[in-house]
Amino acid sequence: MTKAEKQAELIRDISGVDPYKCMKCGKCTATCPSYAEMDIKPHQFVSFVIRGEIEALTKSRSLEKCLSCFACIERCPRSVEPGRLIDAARQLAARERGGGFLTTEEVPEMCDPDTPSQLLVSAYRRYRR
């Protein structure tokens, strides 16, 4: 098994998603509030996993643009729910590379007097290992 195949299997394991159920309706991308910012769109994540192109997914800036709003998860008519693949790719990247998108050093200057702790814990959980 090549590294790419192993990673594809891992993504399917972590997410619990069967990408072959996708019927390519595109509803996930149509409903995603971040799609315009994403280099790989939610519906394309499914195809990338099928083709085993995982390296591209773990380097995609879509991982940081996903809002975990669960719109694609709620509205997927085939229970493929690409948000779960995006999150699995993000976890794979964080587990391999430690999740360098957000560093502790830069946090203080991002805060203002109203910043809720909810924002900090959520961003930490999403962006870091």
């Binding site: 940081e64 809002l67 999150d87 809720p116």
Partner: protein
């Protein structure tokens, strides 16, 4: 009626009015919130990964604590509610997660999802009843046009959250009617405010909050209400700058609990 209560980290500081007014209003509506003696932050975001166990444990501890108190567990913050409700569903229905979480915690009695998790709004709707909330109102908020902002976390995924219709919810509008005001239905009430990206990618989240507020004010909304401290923070940074309140602040005003409006 007594409930175990999980306030969550933000309700202890920036969102203290969400917490305080909820507690103060409860006795007037016939129930009481008893804060769990020890609770840990829910983590803010539900860990989707099936092999993620450690990040779900704080929720399991809270759920097991409520079980030992023999009560339902009430939440207020949308994020806490989302995380705890979903972890509870995992503990009830997902064998691998249940086994691995119980192996970690080694509780006297393994936790299997026995606790019933309720959002404060669900208590108002399903236990107290909005009709009875209405009867307790001393200062109806007459003539106020209020937009309910649901956001994401209370509604989706609807299979697990079972909070309301995920595309056409009514619970907050019914709440607004109960306190004597007029609800404004607008298209973006269940769209995302930008969530946690506002820490590092302010442009992106501000664009979303702008869309929500433009949608709300376009339909004549004078103020927005929410149950989520992060939604409130993001919405307050948007262009339209509509006033945004926690729903408990308006409840307290209507019940005559709050000193200032």
């Amino acid at each position: 009626m007594k409930y175990s209560y999980f306030p969550g980290c933000t309700l202890k500081n920036k969102a203290s009015s969400l917490d305080r007014y909820a507690r103060e209003c409860a006795p007037l509506l016939g129930f009481e919130l008893c804060e769990l003696p020890e609770w840990q932050c829910c983590g803010g975001v539900y860990p989707l990964g099936r092999d993620e166990t450690a990040t779900k444990l704080s929720s399991v501890r809270a759920l097991a604590a409520a079980r030992s108190e023999g009560r339902d567990l009430v939440t207020l913050c949308s994020a806490c509610h989302h995380v705890i409700k979903r972890v509870n569903d995992d503990m009830k229905n997902v064998e691998e997660i249940r086994t691995s979480a119980n192996n970690y915690l080694a509780l006297d009695e393994p936790y299997r999802g026995e606790t019933n998790v309720l959002h404060y709004l669900e208590v108002l709707r399903d236990v107290v009843g909005f009709e009875n909330v209405k009867k307790q109102v001393k200062n109806p908020l007459k003539g106020k046009k209020i937009g309910a902002y649901y956001g994401c976390l209370l509604l989706r995924p609807s299979g697990v959250m079972a909070f309301d219709d995920p595309e056409d919810p009514t619970i907050l509008e019914d709440f607004i009617r109960a306190i004597g005001a007029e609800p404004v239905i607008y298209p973006y009430r269940n769209e995302c405010c930008g969530g946690y990206v506002s820490l590092k990618d302010r442009e992106l989240s501000r664009g979303m909050a702008d869309k929500v507020e433009a949608s709300a004010s376009g339909f004549g909304t004078e103020m927005l209400i929410t149950a989520c401290p992060l939604c409130l923070y993001n919405l307050k940074k948007s262009k339209a700058a509509l006033p945004v309140y926690y729903f408990t602040e308006l409840l307290a005003e209507a019940l005559g609990v709050a000193k200032d409006s």
